[in-house]
Protein backbone atom coordinates (compact mmCIF):
# COMPACT_ATOMS: atom_id res chain seq x y z
CA UNK A 1 0.00 0.00 0.00
CA UNK A 2 2.83 2.31 0.85
CA UNK A 3 4.22 1.64 -2.59
CA UNK A 4 0.97 2.72 -4.26
CA UNK A 5 0.89 5.83 -2.11
CA UNK A 6 4.39 6.73 -3.22
CA UNK A 7 3.48 6.17 -6.85
CA UNK A 8 0.46 8.45 -6.55
CA UNK A 9 2.56 11.14 -4.87
CA UNK A 10 5.09 10.75 -7.65
CA UNK A 11 2.40 11.10 -10.29
CA UNK A 12 1.27 14.33 -8.69
CA UNK A 13 4.75 15.85 -8.58
CA UNK A 14 5.30 14.43 -12.04
CA UNK A 15 2.26 16.17 -13.44
CA UNK A 16 3.74 19.44 -12.23
CA UNK A 17 6.99 18.59 -14.01
CA UNK A 18 4.90 17.73 -17.05
CA UNK A 19 3.38 21.21 -17.20
CA UNK A 20 6.86 22.70 -17.15
CA UNK A 21 8.17 20.12 -19.61
CA UNK A 22 5.44 21.07 -22.08
CA UNK A 23 6.90 24.59 -22.09
CA UNK A 24 10.33 23.25 -23.00
CA UNK A 25 8.95 20.95 -25.62
CA UNK A 26 6.81 23.59 -27.34
CA UNK A 27 9.64 26.08 -27.49
CA UNK A 28 12.02 23.41 -28.74
CA UNK A 29 9.58 22.16 -31.34
CA UNK A 30 8.93 25.61 -32.75
CA UNK A 31 11.98 27.70 -31.91
CA UNK A 32 14.53 24.83 -32.13
CA UNK A 33 16.18 26.01 -28.94
CA UNK A 34 16.25 25.05 -25.28
CA UNK A 35 14.87 27.88 -23.23
CA UNK A 36 17.22 27.48 -20.30
CA UNK A 37 15.42 30.32 -18.53
CA UNK A 38 12.11 28.47 -18.42
CA UNK A 39 12.68 27.31 -14.85
CA UNK A 40 13.34 30.87 -13.72
CA UNK A 41 10.20 32.07 -15.49
CA UNK A 42 8.27 29.63 -13.30
CA UNK A 43 10.01 30.98 -10.22
CA UNK A 44 8.88 34.47 -11.28
CA UNK A 45 5.30 33.22 -11.71
CA UNK A 46 5.28 31.82 -8.19
CA UNK A 47 6.44 35.16 -6.80
CA UNK A 48 3.84 37.08 -8.81
CA UNK A 49 1.07 34.85 -7.50
CA UNK A 50 2.42 35.16 -3.97
CA UNK A 51 2.56 38.96 -4.10
CA UNK A 52 -0.93 39.22 -5.57
CA UNK A 53 -2.33 37.05 -2.81
CA UNK A 54 -0.40 38.14 0.26
CA UNK A 55 0.36 41.81 -0.45
CA UNK A 56 -2.68 42.89 -2.46
CA UNK A 57 -5.07 40.29 -1.03
CA UNK A 58 -6.54 39.46 -4.39
CA UNK A 59 -8.73 36.38 -4.78
CA UNK A 60 -6.91 33.18 -5.69
CA UNK A 61 -8.33 32.86 -9.20
CA UNK A 62 -7.50 36.47 -10.07
CA UNK A 63 -4.00 36.08 -8.67
CA UNK A 64 -3.34 32.97 -10.71
CA UNK A 65 -4.71 34.64 -13.85
CA UNK A 66 -2.49 37.70 -13.27
CA UNK A 67 0.47 35.40 -12.69
CA UNK A 68 -0.25 33.57 -15.96
CA UNK A 69 -0.57 36.85 -17.87
CA UNK A 70 2.62 38.36 -16.43
CA UNK A 71 4.58 35.18 -17.03
CA UNK A 72 3.33 34.81 -20.59
CA UNK A 73 4.35 38.41 -21.25
CA UNK A 74 7.76 37.78 -19.68
CA UNK A 75 8.24 34.75 -21.94
CA UNK A 76 7.39 36.77 -25.04
CA UNK A 77 9.61 39.69 -24.03
CA UNK A 78 12.55 37.35 -23.32
CA UNK A 79 12.14 35.82 -26.74
CA UNK A 80 11.94 39.18 -28.51
CA UNK A 81 14.87 40.77 -26.69
CA UNK A 82 17.30 37.93 -26.13
CA UNK A 83 16.58 35.08 -28.51
CA UNK A 84 15.17 36.61 -31.67
CA UNK A 85 18.31 38.55 -32.65
CA UNK A 86 20.25 35.28 -32.52
CA UNK A 87 17.79 33.14 -34.43
CA UNK A 88 19.62 31.10 -37.04
CA UNK A 89 23.03 32.24 -35.77
CA UNK A 90 24.07 28.99 -34.15
CA UNK A 91 22.82 27.01 -31.22
CA UNK A 92 25.84 27.70 -28.99
CA UNK A 93 25.12 31.43 -28.92
CA UNK A 94 21.41 30.97 -28.15
CA UNK A 95 22.24 28.50 -25.41
CA UNK A 96 24.71 30.82 -23.72
CA UNK A 97 22.21 33.69 -23.94
CA UNK A 98 19.54 31.49 -22.39
CA UNK A 99 21.87 30.60 -19.51
CA UNK A 100 22.46 34.33 -19.12
CA UNK A 101 18.75 35.11 -19.02
CA UNK A 102 18.24 32.40 -16.44
CA UNK A 103 20.94 33.88 -14.22
CA UNK A 104 19.65 37.39 -14.76
CA UNK A 105 16.13 36.54 -13.57
CA UNK A 106 17.41 34.52 -10.64
CA UNK A 107 19.70 37.29 -9.43
CA UNK A 108 17.19 40.10 -9.90
CA UNK A 109 14.84 38.15 -7.63
CA UNK A 110 17.66 37.40 -5.20
CA UNK A 111 18.33 41.11 -4.86
CA UNK A 112 14.65 41.96 -4.59
CA UNK A 113 13.48 39.20 -2.25
CA UNK A 114 16.76 37.87 -0.72
CA UNK A 115 17.60 34.21 -0.65
CA UNK A 116 15.43 33.39 2.35
CA UNK A 117 12.23 31.69 1.35
CA UNK A 118 8.73 33.11 1.68
CA UNK A 119 5.74 31.08 2.70
CA UNK A 120 3.19 30.54 0.02
CA UNK A 121 -0.42 30.99 1.21
CA UNK A 122 -2.31 27.74 1.62
CA UNK A 123 -4.96 28.04 -1.06
CA UNK A 124 -5.76 24.39 -1.58
CA UNK A 125 -7.77 22.44 0.99
CA UNK A 126 -5.56 20.44 3.30
CA UNK A 127 -6.43 16.96 4.47
CA UNK A 128 -6.63 13.77 2.54
CA UNK A 129 -8.92 11.05 1.30
CA UNK A 130 -8.41 7.75 3.09
CA UNK A 131 -9.50 4.55 1.41
CA UNK A 132 -8.19 1.22 2.63
CA UNK A 133 -4.50 1.71 3.33
CA UNK A 134 -4.32 4.56 0.84
CA UNK A 135 -4.12 8.15 1.91
CA UNK A 136 -4.17 10.67 -0.88
CA UNK A 137 -4.03 14.36 -0.06
CA UNK A 138 -6.35 16.79 -1.81
CA UNK A 139 -3.41 18.72 -3.19
CA UNK A 140 -2.21 15.59 -4.96
CA UNK A 141 -5.58 15.05 -6.58
CA UNK A 142 -6.12 18.69 -7.53
CA UNK A 143 -2.65 18.89 -9.06
CA UNK A 144 -3.28 15.82 -11.18
CA UNK A 145 -6.67 17.08 -12.34
CA UNK A 146 -5.44 20.58 -13.20
CA UNK A 147 -2.44 19.23 -15.10
CA UNK A 148 -4.53 16.84 -17.16
CA UNK A 149 -7.11 19.54 -17.96
CA UNK A 150 -4.38 21.95 -19.09
CA UNK A 151 -2.73 19.33 -21.26
CA UNK A 152 -6.08 18.35 -22.75
CA UNK A 153 -6.93 21.94 -23.66
CA UNK A 154 -3.49 22.43 -25.14
CA UNK A 155 -3.72 19.30 -27.28
CA UNK A 156 -7.14 20.39 -28.52
CA UNK A 157 -5.80 23.88 -29.30
CA UNK A 158 -2.84 22.58 -31.24
CA UNK A 159 -4.59 19.93 -33.24
CA UNK A 160 -7.95 21.56 -33.92
CA UNK A 161 -7.59 25.34 -34.15
CA UNK A 162 -6.07 27.37 -36.94
CA UNK A 163 -3.41 28.96 -34.72
CA UNK A 164 -2.46 25.56 -33.37
CA UNK A 165 -2.08 24.15 -36.83
CA UNK A 166 0.07 27.13 -37.71
CA UNK A 167 2.33 26.15 -34.82
CA UNK A 168 2.60 22.60 -36.11
CA UNK A 169 3.46 23.94 -39.54
CA UNK A 170 6.17 26.22 -38.19
CA UNK A 171 7.71 23.41 -36.19
CA UNK A 172 7.75 21.25 -39.32
CA UNK A 173 9.37 23.78 -41.64
CA UNK A 174 9.73 27.49 -40.89
CA UNK A 175 10.48 28.54 -44.44
CA UNK A 176 7.59 26.64 -46.00
CA UNK A 177 5.23 27.87 -43.27
CA UNK A 178 6.09 31.49 -43.95
CA UNK A 179 5.56 30.92 -47.68
CA UNK A 180 2.06 29.68 -46.85
CA UNK A 181 1.30 33.01 -45.20
CA UNK A 182 1.92 32.05 -41.60
CA UNK A 183 3.50 34.79 -39.50
CA UNK A 184 6.46 32.87 -38.08
CA UNK A 185 7.46 35.54 -35.57
CA UNK A 186 4.01 35.70 -34.04
CA UNK A 187 3.73 31.93 -33.92
CA UNK A 188 7.03 31.61 -32.08
CA UNK A 189 5.91 34.31 -29.64
CA UNK A 190 2.67 32.44 -29.11
CA UNK A 191 4.61 29.26 -28.29
CA UNK A 192 6.65 31.15 -25.71
CA UNK A 193 3.50 32.71 -24.26
CA UNK A 194 1.66 29.38 -23.94
CA UNK A 195 4.71 27.59 -22.56
CA UNK A 196 5.31 30.30 -19.97
CA UNK A 197 1.61 30.51 -19.10
CA UNK A 198 1.48 26.77 -18.41
CA UNK A 199 4.62 27.24 -16.38
CA UNK A 200 2.77 29.78 -14.26
CA UNK A 201 0.17 27.12 -13.42
CA UNK A 202 3.02 24.85 -12.41
CA UNK A 203 4.53 27.67 -10.36
CA UNK A 204 1.37 28.07 -8.32
CA UNK A 205 1.13 24.32 -7.84
CA UNK A 206 4.75 24.29 -6.68
CA UNK A 207 3.97 26.98 -4.13
CA UNK A 208 1.00 25.03 -2.78
CA UNK A 209 2.86 21.72 -2.65
CA UNK A 210 6.02 22.91 -0.94
CA UNK A 211 4.52 26.04 0.70
CA UNK A 212 7.92 27.78 0.57
CA UNK A 213 9.40 29.56 -2.42
CA UNK A 214 12.79 31.18 -2.95
CA UNK A 215 14.64 32.51 -6.01
CA UNK A 216 16.46 29.19 -6.45
CA UNK A 217 13.43 26.98 -6.99
CA UNK A 218 13.40 27.48 -10.74
CA UNK A 219 16.81 25.98 -11.36
CA UNK A 220 16.24 22.39 -10.26
CA UNK A 221 12.58 22.41 -11.33
CA UNK A 222 13.64 23.59 -14.76
CA UNK A 223 16.37 21.00 -15.14
CA UNK A 224 14.14 18.15 -14.01
CA UNK A 225 11.35 19.23 -16.32
CA UNK A 226 13.84 19.46 -19.14
CA UNK A 227 14.93 15.90 -18.42
CA UNK A 228 11.26 14.92 -18.52
CA UNK A 229 10.91 16.55 -21.92
CA UNK A 230 13.98 14.70 -23.21
CA UNK A 231 12.73 11.41 -21.76
CA UNK A 232 9.40 11.79 -23.52
CA UNK A 233 11.00 12.91 -26.73
CA UNK A 234 11.59 16.61 -27.07
CA UNK A 235 9.03 18.27 -29.34
CA UNK A 236 6.21 15.88 -28.41
CA UNK A 237 3.53 17.13 -26.01
CA UNK A 238 2.15 13.71 -24.96
CA UNK A 239 5.80 12.72 -24.57
CA UNK A 240 6.41 15.59 -22.16
CA UNK A 241 3.39 14.51 -20.13
CA UNK A 242 4.52 10.87 -19.91
CA UNK A 243 8.13 11.91 -19.26
CA UNK A 244 7.08 14.24 -16.47
CA UNK A 245 5.00 11.55 -14.77
CA UNK A 246 7.84 9.02 -15.05
CA UNK A 247 10.40 11.42 -13.58
CA UNK A 248 8.01 12.27 -10.75
CA UNK A 249 7.44 8.60 -9.89
CA UNK A 250 11.15 7.78 -10.13
CA UNK A 251 11.99 10.63 -7.82
CA UNK A 252 9.27 9.77 -5.31
CA UNK A 253 10.31 6.09 -5.16
CA UNK A 254 13.97 7.03 -4.73
CA UNK A 255 13.15 9.29 -1.83
CA UNK A 256 10.94 6.62 -0.22
CA UNK A 257 13.12 3.56 -0.66
CA UNK A 258 16.73 4.68 -1.19
CA UNK A 259 17.58 8.11 0.13
CA UNK A 260 16.46 11.65 -0.49
CA UNK A 261 20.11 12.56 -1.09
CA UNK A 262 20.12 10.53 -4.27
CA UNK A 263 16.84 11.70 -5.80
CA UNK A 264 18.53 14.28 -8.02
CA UNK A 265 21.28 11.87 -8.98
CA UNK A 266 18.72 9.25 -10.03
CA UNK A 267 16.91 11.78 -12.22
CA UNK A 268 20.20 12.77 -13.83
CA UNK A 269 21.06 9.10 -14.24
CA UNK A 270 17.81 8.64 -16.18
CA UNK A 271 18.82 11.52 -18.45
CA UNK A 272 22.21 10.00 -19.12
CA UNK A 273 20.73 6.57 -19.84
CA UNK A 274 18.09 7.93 -22.20
CA UNK A 275 20.58 10.09 -24.08
CA UNK A 276 22.96 7.20 -24.52
CA UNK A 277 20.38 4.55 -25.41
CA UNK A 278 17.68 6.48 -27.24
CA UNK A 279 18.50 10.17 -27.67
CA UNK A 280 15.21 10.79 -29.53
CA UNK A 281 13.27 9.92 -26.37
CA UNK A 282 10.27 7.63 -25.99
CA UNK A 283 7.92 9.48 -28.33
CA UNK A 284 10.47 11.33 -30.44
CA UNK A 285 11.02 10.98 -34.11
CA UNK A 286 14.43 9.91 -35.30
CA UNK A 287 15.50 12.68 -37.60
CA UNK A 288 18.24 11.78 -39.97
CA UNK A 289 20.76 14.52 -40.48
CA UNK A 290 20.93 15.84 -44.00
CA UNK A 291 24.12 17.21 -45.46
Amino acid sequence: MDFINQVINGLSTGSMYALVAIGYTMVYGIGKMINFAHGEIIMVSAYVALICMSTYHLPVVVSVLISIAVTALLGVVTEKVAYKPLRGKGSLEVLITAIGVSYLLQNIFLLAFTSSGRTFPQIMPSGSIKAGGLSISYITIITLVISFICTGILLFFINKTKLGKAMLAVSEDQGAASLMGINVNNTISLAFAIGSGLGAVAGTIYGCKFSLINPYIGQMLGIKAFIAAVLGGIGSIPGAMVGGLMIGVAESLTIAYISSDFSDAVVFGILILILIIKPAGLFGKNVREKV
Binding site: I96, I99, Y103, Q106, V230, F268, L275, V291
Partner: protein, 315 residues
Amino acid sequence: MKKKLVRKLVMQLVAFVVIFIVLTLLMNTGVINTFWAGILLLCGINVTLAVSLNLATGYLGQLTLGHAGFMAVGAYVSALCSIYLNLPFALTLILGALSAGLVGLLIGIPILRLKGDYLCIITLAFNEIIRVIIVNLKITNGAKGLIGTPNDTTFAWVFWLMALTIFVVYSIVNSRHGRAIIAIREDDTASELSGINNVYYKILAFAISALFAGLAGGLYSHYIGVLVPKYFDYNKSVEILVMVVLGGMGNLPGSIIAALVLTILPSLLMSFSQYRMLVYAIVLIAAMLLKHSDAGIALRAKLPKFHRKNKEVTE
Protein backbone atom coordinates in the same frame (compact mmCIF):
# COMPACT_ATOMS: atom_id res chain seq x y z
CA MET B 1 55.46 27.41 -39.89
CA LYS B 2 56.98 25.12 -37.33
CA LYS B 3 59.89 27.48 -36.77
CA LYS B 4 57.49 30.32 -36.15
CA LEU B 5 55.58 28.31 -33.59
CA VAL B 6 58.77 27.34 -31.75
CA ARG B 7 59.87 30.96 -31.74
CA LYS B 8 56.53 32.03 -30.31
CA LEU B 9 56.73 29.37 -27.61
CA VAL B 10 60.21 30.48 -26.63
CA MET B 11 59.01 34.07 -26.46
CA GLN B 12 56.14 32.98 -24.26
CA LEU B 13 58.55 31.18 -21.97
CA VAL B 14 60.71 34.28 -21.68
CA ALA B 15 57.66 36.38 -20.92
CA PHE B 16 56.55 33.94 -18.23
CA VAL B 17 59.99 33.95 -16.61
CA VAL B 18 60.07 37.75 -16.59
CA ILE B 19 56.57 38.05 -15.13
CA PHE B 20 57.36 35.42 -12.53
CA ILE B 21 60.60 37.09 -11.42
CA VAL B 22 58.91 40.50 -11.20
CA LEU B 23 55.96 39.15 -9.21
CA THR B 24 58.16 37.13 -6.85
CA LEU B 25 60.40 40.12 -6.23
CA LEU B 26 57.39 42.31 -5.52
CA MET B 27 56.03 39.71 -3.12
CA ASN B 28 59.30 39.22 -1.30
CA THR B 29 59.86 42.95 -0.88
CA GLY B 30 56.35 43.33 0.45
CA VAL B 31 55.05 45.58 -2.32
CA ILE B 32 52.40 42.93 -2.92
CA ASN B 33 50.95 42.09 0.48
CA THR B 34 49.58 38.72 1.52
CA PHE B 35 46.02 39.72 0.60
CA TRP B 36 47.07 40.42 -2.96
CA ALA B 37 49.28 37.37 -3.06
CA GLY B 38 46.24 35.28 -2.26
CA ILE B 39 44.28 36.92 -5.04
CA LEU B 40 47.12 36.32 -7.49
CA LEU B 41 47.08 32.67 -6.52
CA LEU B 42 43.36 32.42 -7.22
CA CYS B 43 43.96 34.27 -10.49
CA GLY B 44 46.39 31.57 -11.53
CA ILE B 45 43.92 28.81 -10.71
CA ASN B 46 41.12 30.56 -12.58
CA VAL B 47 43.31 31.18 -15.61
CA THR B 48 44.11 27.46 -15.68
CA LEU B 49 40.40 26.67 -15.54
CA ALA B 50 39.41 29.20 -18.20
CA VAL B 51 42.18 28.17 -20.60
CA SER B 52 41.36 24.49 -20.24
CA LEU B 53 37.63 25.10 -20.76
CA ASN B 54 38.42 27.20 -23.80
CA LEU B 55 39.90 24.11 -25.43
CA ALA B 56 36.59 22.25 -25.13
CA THR B 57 34.15 25.13 -25.60
CA GLY B 58 36.06 27.69 -27.63
CA TYR B 59 38.12 25.54 -29.96
CA LEU B 60 36.10 22.32 -30.09
CA GLY B 61 32.83 24.26 -29.97
CA GLN B 62 31.13 21.96 -27.45
CA LEU B 63 29.41 23.82 -24.66
CA THR B 64 30.11 21.91 -21.47
CA LEU B 65 28.73 22.88 -18.09
CA GLY B 66 30.63 20.27 -16.09
CA HIS B 67 34.02 21.87 -15.71
CA ALA B 68 33.57 22.33 -11.97
CA GLY B 69 32.87 18.59 -11.71
CA PHE B 70 36.27 17.72 -13.17
CA MET B 71 37.84 20.30 -10.92
CA ALA B 72 36.14 18.58 -7.98
CA VAL B 73 37.53 15.19 -8.98
CA GLY B 74 41.04 16.60 -9.15
CA ALA B 75 40.64 18.52 -5.91
CA TYR B 76 39.33 15.57 -3.89
CA VAL B 77 41.68 12.93 -5.33
CA SER B 78 44.76 15.04 -4.66
CA ALA B 79 43.55 16.12 -1.22
CA LEU B 80 42.76 12.53 -0.20
CA CYS B 81 46.15 11.32 -1.49
CA SER B 82 47.82 14.00 0.61
CA ILE B 83 45.85 13.26 3.76
CA TYR B 84 45.68 9.47 3.77
CA LEU B 85 48.68 8.38 1.73
CA ASN B 86 51.08 11.21 2.60
CA LEU B 87 52.24 11.38 -0.98
CA PRO B 88 54.44 14.27 -2.08
CA PHE B 89 52.55 17.31 -3.35
CA ALA B 90 53.64 16.99 -6.98
CA LEU B 91 52.51 13.38 -7.12
CA THR B 92 49.10 14.17 -5.66
CA LEU B 93 48.65 16.90 -8.26
CA ILE B 94 49.52 14.48 -11.03
CA LEU B 95 47.17 11.83 -9.63
CA GLY B 96 44.38 14.38 -9.28
CA ALA B 97 44.83 15.64 -12.82
CA LEU B 98 45.05 12.13 -14.25
CA SER B 99 41.92 10.95 -12.46
CA ALA B 100 40.01 14.02 -13.68
CA GLY B 101 41.28 13.32 -17.18
CA LEU B 102 40.23 9.68 -16.83
CA VAL B 103 36.75 10.69 -15.68
CA GLY B 104 36.61 13.10 -18.61
CA LEU B 105 37.62 10.30 -20.95
CA LEU B 106 35.07 7.85 -19.53
CA ILE B 107 32.29 10.45 -19.62
CA GLY B 108 33.39 11.75 -23.00
CA ILE B 109 33.23 8.43 -24.84
CA PRO B 110 29.46 7.98 -24.53
CA ILE B 111 28.35 11.62 -24.46
CA LEU B 112 30.36 13.23 -27.20
CA ARG B 113 28.06 11.63 -29.75
CA LEU B 114 25.60 14.29 -28.64
CA LYS B 115 25.86 17.90 -29.64
CA GLY B 116 24.95 21.37 -28.51
CA ASP B 117 22.01 21.55 -26.17
CA TYR B 118 22.05 17.90 -25.16
CA LEU B 119 25.77 17.89 -24.45
CA CYS B 120 25.38 20.98 -22.32
CA ILE B 121 22.66 19.40 -20.19
CA ILE B 122 24.37 16.03 -19.87
CA THR B 123 27.64 17.58 -18.70
CA LEU B 124 25.62 19.55 -16.18
CA ALA B 125 24.07 16.25 -15.08
CA PHE B 126 27.49 14.66 -14.62
CA ASN B 127 28.64 17.66 -12.64
CA GLU B 128 25.69 17.23 -10.28
CA ILE B 129 26.22 13.46 -10.02
CA ILE B 130 29.89 13.93 -9.15
CA ARG B 131 28.86 16.44 -6.50
CA VAL B 132 26.16 14.15 -5.06
CA ILE B 133 28.66 11.28 -4.88
CA ILE B 134 31.16 13.47 -3.04
CA VAL B 135 28.47 14.64 -0.62
CA ASN B 136 27.47 11.06 0.18
CA LEU B 137 30.89 9.46 0.47
CA LYS B 138 32.29 8.89 3.95
CA ILE B 139 35.91 9.45 3.02
CA THR B 140 35.23 12.97 1.71
CA ASN B 141 33.42 13.94 4.91
CA GLY B 142 30.33 14.84 2.87
CA ALA B 143 28.79 18.28 2.92
CA LYS B 144 30.69 19.25 6.08
CA GLY B 145 33.88 19.56 4.09
CA LEU B 146 37.24 17.86 4.01
CA ILE B 147 39.78 19.31 6.38
CA GLY B 148 43.43 18.59 6.98
CA THR B 149 44.76 19.10 3.48
CA PRO B 150 48.28 20.52 3.81
CA ASN B 151 48.69 24.05 2.48
CA ASP B 152 51.30 23.09 -0.08
CA THR B 153 50.13 25.35 -2.89
CA THR B 154 52.54 28.21 -3.33
CA PHE B 155 52.54 30.97 -5.89
CA ALA B 156 55.36 29.32 -7.80
CA TRP B 157 53.42 26.06 -8.17
CA VAL B 158 50.31 27.86 -9.38
CA PHE B 159 52.22 30.11 -11.73
CA TRP B 160 54.24 27.41 -13.43
CA LEU B 161 51.38 24.98 -13.73
CA MET B 162 49.27 27.77 -15.21
CA ALA B 163 52.11 28.45 -17.64
CA LEU B 164 52.22 24.74 -18.46
CA THR B 165 48.49 24.71 -19.16
CA ILE B 166 48.73 27.74 -21.44
CA PHE B 167 51.74 26.17 -23.13
CA VAL B 168 50.05 22.84 -23.78
CA VAL B 169 46.75 24.31 -24.95
CA TYR B 170 48.56 26.82 -27.16
CA SER B 171 50.70 24.12 -28.71
CA ILE B 172 47.70 21.89 -29.30
CA VAL B 173 45.57 24.52 -31.00
CA ASN B 174 48.45 25.60 -33.21
CA SER B 175 49.25 22.10 -34.35
CA ARG B 176 47.73 19.69 -36.85
CA HIS B 177 45.56 18.35 -34.03
CA GLY B 178 44.36 21.83 -33.18
CA ARG B 179 43.37 22.50 -36.76
CA ALA B 180 41.40 19.25 -36.73
CA ILE B 181 39.67 20.34 -33.51
CA ILE B 182 38.80 23.74 -35.00
CA ALA B 183 37.56 22.07 -38.18
CA ILE B 184 35.13 20.02 -36.09
CA ARG B 185 33.83 23.22 -34.53
CA GLU B 186 33.33 24.88 -37.91
CA ASP B 187 31.53 21.96 -39.54
CA ASP B 188 31.67 18.46 -38.17
CA THR B 189 30.27 16.82 -41.28
CA ALA B 190 32.84 18.51 -43.51
CA SER B 191 35.67 17.61 -41.14
CA GLU B 192 34.59 13.98 -41.05
CA LEU B 193 34.48 13.94 -44.85
CA SER B 194 38.01 15.38 -44.95
CA GLY B 195 39.24 12.34 -43.10
CA ILE B 196 39.39 13.78 -39.61
CA ASN B 197 38.53 11.28 -36.91
CA ASN B 198 35.86 13.39 -35.23
CA VAL B 199 35.26 11.07 -32.28
CA TYR B 200 38.96 10.75 -31.49
CA TYR B 201 39.62 14.48 -31.55
CA LYS B 202 36.47 15.36 -29.62
CA ILE B 203 37.38 12.93 -26.84
CA LEU B 204 41.03 14.03 -26.91
CA ALA B 205 40.15 17.71 -26.47
CA PHE B 206 37.53 16.93 -23.86
CA ALA B 207 39.85 14.72 -21.80
CA ILE B 208 42.73 17.20 -21.93
CA SER B 209 40.36 19.94 -20.88
CA ALA B 210 39.20 17.80 -17.94
CA LEU B 211 42.78 16.92 -17.03
CA PHE B 212 43.80 20.54 -16.58
CA ALA B 213 40.61 21.28 -14.68
CA GLY B 214 41.67 18.49 -12.32
CA LEU B 215 45.09 20.06 -12.00
CA ALA B 216 43.50 23.37 -11.04
CA GLY B 217 41.34 21.47 -8.57
CA GLY B 218 44.42 19.92 -6.93
CA LEU B 219 46.01 23.35 -6.59
CA TYR B 220 42.80 24.74 -5.15
CA SER B 221 42.39 21.96 -2.58
CA HIS B 222 45.92 22.46 -1.27
CA TYR B 223 45.32 26.18 -0.99
CA ILE B 224 41.86 26.49 0.52
CA GLY B 225 42.20 24.19 3.54
CA VAL B 226 38.52 23.25 3.90
CA LEU B 227 37.16 21.58 0.80
CA VAL B 228 33.36 21.75 0.53
CA PRO B 229 31.45 20.05 -2.29
CA LYS B 230 29.10 23.00 -2.63
CA TYR B 231 31.90 25.03 -4.18
CA PHE B 232 31.91 22.77 -7.23
CA ASP B 233 28.29 23.22 -8.23
CA TYR B 234 26.65 24.44 -11.41
CA ASN B 235 27.41 28.07 -10.53
CA LYS B 236 31.15 27.43 -10.56
CA SER B 237 30.86 25.85 -14.01
CA VAL B 238 28.95 28.88 -15.24
CA GLU B 239 31.55 31.19 -13.71
CA ILE B 240 34.31 29.49 -15.70
CA LEU B 241 32.12 29.65 -18.79
CA VAL B 242 31.64 33.38 -18.29
CA MET B 243 35.42 33.83 -18.28
CA VAL B 244 35.70 31.97 -21.57
CA VAL B 245 32.79 33.83 -23.16
CA LEU B 246 33.96 37.25 -21.98
CA GLY B 247 37.48 36.62 -23.23
CA GLY B 248 36.20 35.30 -26.50
CA MET B 249 35.62 31.69 -27.39
CA GLY B 250 38.65 30.32 -29.15
CA ASN B 251 40.91 33.13 -27.96
CA LEU B 252 43.59 32.22 -25.40
CA PRO B 253 44.85 35.71 -24.43
CA GLY B 254 41.21 36.69 -24.04
CA SER B 255 40.54 33.87 -21.59
CA ILE B 256 43.59 34.82 -19.55
CA ILE B 257 42.61 38.49 -19.35
CA ALA B 258 38.96 37.68 -18.59
CA ALA B 259 39.95 35.26 -15.83
CA LEU B 260 42.21 37.90 -14.28
CA VAL B 261 39.55 40.61 -14.47
CA LEU B 262 36.79 38.39 -13.11
CA THR B 263 38.97 37.27 -10.20
CA ILE B 264 40.41 40.64 -9.27
CA LEU B 265 37.24 42.74 -9.65
CA PRO B 266 35.08 40.85 -7.12
CA SER B 267 37.95 40.83 -4.60
CA LEU B 268 38.54 44.54 -5.06
CA LEU B 269 34.96 45.62 -4.71
CA MET B 270 33.50 43.86 -1.74
CA SER B 271 30.16 45.59 -2.22
CA PHE B 272 30.24 44.31 -5.76
CA SER B 273 30.04 40.67 -4.66
CA GLN B 274 26.30 40.99 -4.20
CA TYR B 275 25.91 41.93 -7.85
CA ARG B 276 28.56 39.54 -9.14
CA MET B 277 26.24 36.92 -10.55
CA LEU B 278 23.96 39.61 -11.98
CA VAL B 279 26.91 41.10 -13.83
CA TYR B 280 27.92 37.64 -15.06
CA ALA B 281 24.43 37.17 -16.49
CA ILE B 282 24.54 40.51 -18.28
CA VAL B 283 28.02 39.69 -19.62
CA LEU B 284 26.77 36.42 -21.10
CA ILE B 285 23.76 38.01 -22.78
CA ALA B 286 25.55 41.14 -23.97
CA ALA B 287 28.53 39.21 -25.36
CA MET B 288 26.26 36.99 -27.42
CA LEU B 289 23.99 39.77 -28.64
CA LEU B 290 26.92 42.04 -29.55
CA LYS B 291 28.64 39.22 -31.35
CA HIS B 292 26.03 39.20 -34.08
CA SER B 293 24.46 42.65 -34.01
CA ASP B 294 25.51 45.26 -36.56
CA ALA B 295 26.57 47.63 -33.79
CA GLY B 296 28.80 44.97 -32.27
CA ILE B 297 30.48 44.12 -35.56
CA ALA B 298 31.10 47.81 -36.28
CA LEU B 299 32.55 48.28 -32.79
CA ARG B 300 34.96 45.41 -33.18
CA ALA B 301 36.16 46.69 -36.54
CA LYS B 302 37.35 49.84 -34.79
CA LEU B 303 39.16 48.03 -31.96
CA PRO B 304 42.79 47.06 -32.50
CA LYS B 305 43.30 43.43 -33.40
CA PHE B 306 45.13 41.35 -30.81
CA HIS B 307 45.40 38.36 -33.05
CA ARG B 308 45.71 38.05 -36.76
CA LYS B 309 44.71 34.48 -37.25
CA ASN B 310 41.09 34.41 -36.15
CA LYS B 311 39.76 36.86 -38.69
CA GLU B 312 36.21 38.07 -38.45
CA VAL B 313 33.75 35.66 -39.95
CA THR B 314 30.97 37.63 -41.54
CA GLU B 315 27.69 35.89 -41.84
